[in-house]
Symmetry: C2
Subunit: 137 residues, 2 copies
């Protein structure tokens, strides 16, 4: 069995997950590494319940994965196929933007001090995206 989806309803469901600006932006952040919920709150400028709801959609679809670290919940991408789709539409994560410094209130403007939510790392260790050459991009 390969990793492709042949059922149109199921495939459309995958696209439907990505057909949402907030979810897409969060996934785009997660392509660069893990992130906590408060991180998305700052980035999206949305209330916590809203962020959690959208993350819940992605978690329910097993696109992302959550793990507790103290008071924070750390999210990361676990669906390599979705990561590939994002690469196709948004480009490689490091191709057009630096990984942003975490703008969480607890992080403040200091860059990743100890105790802050420095979950943004440039290492998708859980997402083995297949290596490819891109001649057209």
């Amino acid at each position: 069995m390969n990793s492709t989806v042949t059922d149109y309803g199921k495939a459309a469901g995958v696209f439907k997950l990505l057909a949402h600006p907030a979810r897409l932006q969060m996934l785009d952040e997660l392509r660069r590494g893990e992130a906590c919920v408060c991180h998305f709150q700052q980035i999206l400028g949305r209330p916590q319940a809203y962020v959690s709801q959208q993350l819940g959609v992605l978690r329910d679809a097993q696109v992302v994965d959550a793990e507790r670290d103290g008071v924070n919940m750390i999210y990361r991408i676990v669906d390599a196929q979705v990561a590939r789709l994002l690469d196709d539409l948004l480009g490689e994560p490091d191709s057009y933007r630096e990984a942003p410094a975490c703008p969480c209130p607890k992080c403040g403007d200091e860059s990743q001090v100890d105790g802050a939510c420095n979950y943004i790392v440039m290492d998708l260790k859980e997402v083995p995206v297949p290596t490819r050459t891109r001649e057209g991009g």
Copy 2:
């Protein structure tokens, strides 16, 4: 200017186009070549107006392109990026299914007789999909 989309609303709009089983199935057919409207009527089992509306959505987004041939309208994919997304999620067009014989009423069971709508061809001459190697697929 590269071919990637950096705006989340715009990117979500692209995914939204594909987040629909009927549109997805039609695009999957179009990956294999051109097709007339009546072809989709048969494949989807939907009325003409419905098929035309969904094709209109894709046409309006400039994902597909329509050209008249006598009484028929011939559709084809013109958005290479969308074709790439479909490749990622559904696999290569020829990797899991043969190009179906056109099941239109006028085509009948005869295989592509003259005068029939033999628009299904395995040649995406209008879609210059960039060549890639897929080591992970």
